[in-house]
């Protein structure tokens, strides 16, 4: 099978039939190239969305209050629900399956932060220590809010690097005091927080919720409850969400079926929904990719048919000169395999190059790092080479069966 002489025979045939070679090669290269682009874009899309979810824990349930919309036990609809510390404590102690939890108290209006002569308007989030894990805050210097801060009502704050830059201008902020709406808080740490929706998560500082409620006369009001559900399944997580809702319904006396009294956002459920969407998209891409490959195979077999027809006379001559049927089959087959593998490899490399160069330019919230599993690409290539060989085999066998006398009959 592998003798250099045969390869030389094949190479000289290829060299002298450039157009034919090009056409065969092109359909194969194009098939693989398109498959690479398709798979790569699909992966890029998925990466982008997954990154979107990475910015906060993917197993979080967020709860915030609204207005009742259904009458309940003689009370009219339209009541405002105000969540308080006791709600949070009750949820935390009575609902099973909660991993991490925090309530959040927002100070409305603009909050002026200042240090020496620098000042700026930023958001202030007042939370429990767990919140850092829920939001996936990344500590750069110092530490996040901790339990003693909460218990002892410490006036401490963890600030974003953006705030640090705006107020401290390169000075080390740790253990310095900044004014929050006129009240001094000691900086205990700095953080960064990825968020693809602009820099919302960076234009803020964190305070211990107990301190903030006391200092900014928040009493016991809270705005949001966030809990994580560990490695619960979607069903379990929905159950937890439901029991949080009904607990709050009992505490605030509203219809548990009321859709507007309490709002929830279950990121696990949504995450899984999107992931399910992606597996459908992946399937879809595979179907298209397979279609492309099949089109490539059909193209190759078509061309091989023409090649054999084209070479009928040559095959007749070869047979008259003593070529065995097998030598004819292997000549045509090896040529087909050679062309498909080279062209396929070329398409593969081209696909990777295009993905790499275009990919970095197309970086956006929903598109990131398009890449192809090289293993899959190589399987696809092998499949194509194999099918090319198979596609070549049928006409090659036909060619080998050509009676020399028919092939050589003068036109």
């Amino acid at each position: 099978m592998f003798d250099t002489d045969k390869w030389q025979e094949i190479f000289s045939t290829i060299r002298k039939n450039k157009l034919r070679t090009f056409l065969t090669g092109f359909s194969v290269a194009w098939g693989i190239f398109m498959l690479m682009i398709l798979l790569g874009s699909g992966k890029g899309l998925q990466n982008g969305v997954e990154k979107e979810f990475e910015s906060s824990a993917t197993n979080t349930i967020w709860v915030w209050s609204g207005q009742t919309s259904l009458p309940y036990k003689g009370m009219k609809p339209g009541r405002n629900i105000q969540l308080v510390n006791e709600d949070y404590d009750a949820v935390k102690s009575s609902v099973k399956g909660i991993d991490k939890s925090s309530s959040r108290y927002n100070i409305w209006g603009t909050n002026t932060l200042s240090y020496k002569k620098q000042s700026g308007n930023f958001n202030v989030r007042n939370v429990y220590p767990d919140y850092g894990d829920i939001e996936k805050v990344k500590i750069i210097k110092g530490r996040y809010i901790n339990q003693p801060d909460i218990e002892q009502f410490r006036k401490v704050t963890t600030i974003s690097t953006q705030v640090e830059e705006a107020l401290f201008k390169g000075e080390d902020p740790i253990n310095k005091y900044i004014n929050v709406n006129g009240v001094p808080f000691k900086v205990i740490g700095t953080f960064t927080d990825d968020d693809n929706n602009g820099d919302d998560n960076m234009r803020l500082i964190y305070l211990p919720i107990t301190t903030a409620q006391r200092v900014f006369s928040g009493d016991n009001r809270i705005n949001t409850i966030a809990i994580t559900v560990g490695d619960a399944t979607v069903e379990e997580s929905k159950l937890i969400e439901q029991s949080v809702k009904s607990k709050l319904a009992t505490l605030h006396k509203f219809d548990p079926a009321d859709p507007r009294a309490i709002f929830t956002w279950n990121s696990l459920e949504n995450y899984q929904k999107v992931m399910r969407l992606f597996s459908s998209i992946r399937l879809f891409i595979w179907i298209i990719g397979m279609g492309t490959i099949i089109a490539g195979i059909v193209g190759v077999s078509n061309i091989m048919m023409i090649v054999v027809k084209d070479r009928t006379k040559e095959i007749g001559i070869r047979k008259a000169m003593g070529a065995t049927p097998w030598s004819i089959i292997s000549l045509i087959l090896q040529e087909a395999v050679l062309i498909t593998s080279f062209a396929g490899y070329f398409g593969l490399v081209l696909g990777v190059v295009v993905l790499e160069t275009l990919g970095s330019k197309l970086e956006s919230p929903f598109f990131s790092h398009p890449s192809v599993d090289l293993r899959i690409a190589i399987y696809a290539l092998l499949l194509l080479v194999f099918s090319g060989a198979l596609a070549g085999f049928i006409p090659a066998r036909k060619a080998a069966a050509i009676k020399p006398i028919e092939a050589l009959r003068d036109e």
Binding site: K16, E314, M321
Partner: protein, 231 residues
């Protein structure tokens, strides 16, 4: 060298059955120079194809060099062709994308002779045909006479026992035709059996024996005394 006993051959085209050869008995000695003549449809090309193991006969016996040729596999037929028979065709049948030397060397490729060696041998045969300087040229750059001489060199390179020539001068002018016949004659003198199919009287008269075919039967055989004396 060649012995045919009652060779029959018919072609089936659709519902029609065409009986082309109706019992050919023929004996050709080693070293003979024979021409087969006949009008078109007389079965001369079919006979040549059977002799060349390019086609199979239906009934009868064919001995080539005392080997019975009958229903052999394609692979075996290919081996026999390569070993015993050299072909020369009317339309030359050179491979268009190979140069003169590579065309001549082709039969040796199917004898697994290495590339360098077969090209060297091909050059020797081209030299015999006086075509050394055309070795690198492609067939479409050559004249008909040159192409036919290359085809003859190709037929000779495998050192066959028999050369079968189907209208070897059919596509050539008179002068070139005579040159080609002269070459075939010289080859015959070396002891190679040559059988040519032709419908030109002057060509057939350059051979030792003329076999006339008519309607699938041998009509007459003429020993060409004049040429026999010359040789």
């Amino acid at each position: 060298m060649i012995r045919l006993n009652g060779i029959n051959k018919s072609y089936v085209t659709g519902a029609n059955k065409l009986h082309v050869l109706k019992g050919i008995d023929l004996h050709i000695q080693a070293g003979e120079f024979v021409s087969i003549m006949g009008s078109s449809g007389s079965g001369k090309s079919t006979l040549l194809n059977i002799l060349g193991i390019l086609d199979e006969h239906d009934t009868g016996e064919y001995f080539l060099d005392n080997t019975l040729i009958r229903n052999q596999s394609e692979t075996k037929a290919a081996g026999l062709r390569n070993k015993y028979i050299g072909f020369v065709f009317q339309s030359f049948n050179l491979i268009s994308f190979k140069n003169a030397m590579e065309n001549v060397a082709l039969p040796l490729y199917y004898q697994n002779v290495g590339r360098k060696k077969r090209n060297r041998i091909a050059m020797e045969y081209l030299d015999r045909m006086g075509l050394t300087e055309w070795a690198e040229h492609m067939p479409n750059e050559l004249s008909g006479g040159q192409k036919q001489r290359i085809a003859i060199a190709r037929a000779l390179i495998s050192k066959p026992k028999v050369i079968l020539a189907d209208e070897p001068t059919g596509a050539l002018d008179t002068t070139t035709s005579y040159e080609v016949m002269q070459i075939l004659k010289e080859i015959n003198k070396e002891g190679i059996t040559i059988i040519i199919v032709t419908h030109e009287n002057d060509i057939s008269h350059m051979t030792n024996r003329i076999i006339h075919l008519k309607d699938g039967l041998i009509e007459s055989e003429v020993l060409n005394g004049k040429d026999a004396m010359l040789s």
